[in-house]
């Protein structure tokens, strides 16, 4: 159990590093690869939180399906490096970074001054039980049956929409 905080620190550092690399790299392919590393980190964190099914889905759906789609589109459009910003756009970058850090400060302020969150030092005793495929499946197919079926409808609509949008226009 003593290894857990070390593992968390390592994963957190890796996740933040890959996220920062993603936004500072000019080449979109390198950004995509950094984001895939970030997704693997998050999957490991889900495992630390005993959410087995979501860890597997994170790798299969995010690092697998979604990122393959993104890399495929980058390849299809044959994108090069993003061109450097002219000087007059420099202030926009400053404003963006300042706003982002402002948001981070707000969030950490809320975290530090909400006493309820600090009360949770340990995982709940039921945590290893609720993340299993069995528990998730039971919940999804009984309690959340209607949202689950709506999700199927949403995916169908997305497939039809994607095909219509990306279709070459007929003359």
């Amino acid at each position: 159990m003593t290894a857990e905080p070390l593992l968390f620190l390592f994963l957190a550092a890796f996740a933040v590093t890959t996220a920062v690399l993603m936004i500072i790299q000019r080449n979109p392919v390198m950004s995509a690869i950094s984001l895939i590393g970030n997704f693997f980190c998050l999957a490991a964190l889900y495992l630390m939180l005993r959410a087995q099914l979501l860890a597997v889905l994170q790798i299969a759906v995010y690092a697998g399906a979604i990122m393959v789609l993104v890399v495929f589109v980058i390849m299809l459009l044959n994108l090069g490096d993003e061109i450097k910003l002219p000087v007059r756009f420099g202030f926009r970058r400053t404003v963006g970074v300042v706003l982002g850090f402002g948001l981070l400060l707000e969030l950490t302020y809320l975290l530090l001054f909400t006493p309820e969150t600090a009360e949770h030092e340990m995982l709940h005793a039921d945590a290893p039980l609720i993340g299993t495929v069995e528990a998730m499946g039971t919940a999804l197919y009984s309690q959340y049956l209607f949202p689950l079926q709506l999700t199927g409808l949403l995916l169908l609509a997305a497939v039809v929409g994607a095909v219509i949008l990306a279709k070459r226009r007929l003359p």
Partner: protein
């Protein structure tokens, strides 16, 4: 010794802020799209952390649905990028201004 909930929430806040900064400073539509995915993921981490620390399955069920919506969003969003590139030959935000007033 275990990792307290606050650490997970702090990591999630940091990832969300990095995603926001990425959306604000990058101009490549696909990279902005990936930053939105990063923000979705940081919120997922929050939900899973709360779910595990409170012993409630609702958070993980919500993450499942967020993943499904993210997959749908990725398909439609990238189709829009392809349609955009076909019409304007660019994926740069500054060159796409047909809806600008």
């Amino acid at each position: 010794m275990a990792v307290p909930l606050t650490y997970y929430l702090a990591l999630s806040a940091a990832l969300f802020a990095i995603g926001v900064i990425g959306v604000l400073i990058r101009r490549n539509v696909i990279v902005v799209f990936m930053c939105i995915e990063l923000m979705l993921n940081s919120v997922n981490l929050t939900l899973v952390a709360f779910s595990a620390f409170l012993g409630d399955i609702a958070g993980q069920a919500l993450v499942f649905f967020v993943m499904a919506v993210a997959a749908a969003e990725a398909a439609v969003g990238l189709a829009i990028v392809i349609a955009l590139y076909r019409n304007k030959q660019t994926v740069n935000f500054d060159d796409i201004n047909i809806l600008k007033w």
